[in-house]
Symmetry: C2
Subunit: 442 residues, 2 copies
Amino acid sequence: MTTKPARGMRDFLPDDVRRRQYVIGIIGDVYQRYGFEPLETPSVENIETLIGKYGEEGDRLIFRILKRGDEGKAGEADLALRYDLTVPLARVIAEYRAQLPKFFKRYQVQPVWRADRPQKGRFREFYQCDVDAMGSSSPVVEAELCAAVSDVLLALGFNDFEIVINHRQLLTALLNGAGVDPSRHGDALTALDKFDKIGRDGVAQEFTERGIETDAASRLLAWMGTAWPADWLPWLEQQLPLDGAGRAGAENLRDILALTAATSAAPHIRVEPSLARGLSYYTGAIFEIKVKDLAGSLGGGGRYDNLVGMFAGEPVPAAGFSLGLERILVVMGDRKMFPEALVATAAEVMVTIWNADATGDAIRLARELRGAGLRVDVYPDADKIGKQFKYASARNIRFVAVLGEGERERNEVAIKNLTTGEQVPVPRVGVANYLLASLPRT
Amino acid sequence: MTTKPARGMRDFLPDDVRRRQYVIGIIGDVYQRYGFEPLETPSVENIETLIGKYGEEGDRLIFRILKRGDEGKAGEADLALRYDLTVPLARVIAEYRAQLPKFFKRYQVQPVWRADRPQKGRFREFYQCDVDAMGSSSPVVEAELCAAVSDVLLALGFNDFEIVINHRQLLTALLNGAGVDPSRHGDALTALDKFDKIGRDGVAQEFTERGIETDAASRLLAWMGTAWPADWLPWLEQQLPLDGAGRAGAENLRDILALTAATSAAPHIRVEPSLARGLSYYTGAIFEIKVKDLAGSLGGGGRYDNLVGMFAGEPVPAAGFSLGLERILVVMGDRKMFPEALVATAAEVMVTIWNADATGDAIRLARELRGAGLRVDVYPDADKIGKQFKYASARNIRFVAVLGEGERERNEVAIKNLTTGEQVPVPRVGVANYLLASLPRT
């Protein structure tokens, strides 16, 4: 019997969990400061809730759960594992509409499961960190989302990130203006979205392969394959007449950018005309977060005004951002961005057991130290004291407390600092304060 | 299409999540103070890892995941959802033995899934909070476990709980001493374990039904159907001669109790001779936590020295405690034990939007207040100010900030306290401090 985790799944040992909890903690704190509230949905959904929401490829990647008992004999599935956090959110909005605030703002940090072929950095169970605001189509929503995500990244120690932004309505207007047939919009966007991977020439070639006319393709590359000037809206209007929806999209994008000027996102945000974000459910602004040392993105999002309506039966405007926890952890690991105190922070002090008689005293001392807020381990056996010291040292525990016969007679505890090797007698009543003063507190 | 969660599963809206996170946070903090480290394992395990570990009934309750793609056509399952946190721990110990400390102490708070028939308080997805110590058979382990669990319960605000304790080896000795045939031990323990549900007469009747001889049954009831005296070991030795294993069990129980005397568990712990904890993998001390207003227990545990060896190939002594998060939450809800600040703690302040021109100022103010650590919502639209106030009030937000034309001219912000109705002008630079001073901080 193998003792490895299942294919594409991971065990998180204590150092892993501490790093993950550190990042998740910061994300939650920042989002709460923006008035977002935590939501959790079940790992398991009815299969009909999920099937058909993620396209054909998505459907194939859904983990399906067999019916129980006799019903399962036929091999039928009635349940499935959560595939993302957006569809469950849409279901929740529809189900609890009456008790949720009109502008429901939620964050959700939970695992999702996809039966993808595992490869470096791609797992079958991974965490998403989503933040979404429902009920308003105001550009304040997008500006606040960009600000919140910037604050998260800054709080984690990132300062070189870019939030690239674009707008679906504007993209459509540009495709129309360039003369791309509406039936080819999807193809054109798919090609365009690869700009930062395959470059201008690569996109030009893919345009040809995907049957985009030469004239339309070269117009698209002139407009979208280049950085726009700072004052891009007048420039764009010189390039082509914007139709109603296109103009509304451009103005919405301009308003969002203007509002982010007052936020921490300001130095990080940049219009990226080639950003298309796949073919999914976005209807307005779209974003992606880039850092130099990572192909792909740390996260992305946008406005999706039609998705919630699929469940709620009436349109509910919505916009959100999803951060990829696993990628954030990889980059933070590579860049050594985790605080040192996170590693090897199991226990700060280990109380040794001098002999069987002294065990009660050891437990009593541990209790006092814990009461003072210290993280304290008790060595379980009355092994040779050298063995106990060695164990504490191997575990990176900073201080060891010894209650030997002499110490107990003098009402003292010998405290050894395993970093310096120094051992000092400390009066019994003063041990907690001595250790608190000697340890860096996190 | 239904928008309800799947059968037996629950959505947790923000107030639910805050309560859950509050309890989970306290559990983690206390366990860390005892030197336990966090572990997380995947929700999905290879099916062979789980099947056969929980008995026939358990096997039936495991959620099985269909093979993907063509392989799944035959209706075969190769994966399954985690059923408890103990078997995955045993797998982890076996897999990472070399890199884990000898006395690996971990806590784990994660959901498990069981295809049980849902009923009041019983769900198909629920959280377990496990704490286990590997590698030592010292009674220090059990004493520390009882102390840690007591500290958790005390920190949550419970003070009327009981930790009932018994010992598997002692139970076996008593069954032998009473003359119960070894083939009937399981039956006798099953009956005995129901003592607090069906009482002495009920157990007596079940003994008869299960074919326990009358003499043996009455001896068992004399020994185990009654509270033992404080100095129970000499008393017990008058009742029957203890064999080697029985005597070792009794002494181990005595040692554990003696060590807990120095801990916060002392006033809560009590020997309960009828406690048997089902028929599962326990080999030594067994515990259960009781509170008066709950049938069943808030948690339980014990020593299980043989389970890890099933995976590791060599014996690894182990003992642990599992707390039932869902039951703890139910009792805490019934008793109103949650701090008031947990409810309606979405945002502390809402910044209103006076008109479109003032939106940037509103976002700038929100940024400053968030920088000061406040939880701040921004109303997204320039609706009538009365409507904005009403929204904040419905959301239980304490303070509303207004940046009207007059306020902006005078470089002030009007702060309205929605609890008292009082509205005061506050100089722009002093708003964060004013609010920090006015709000109870958690």
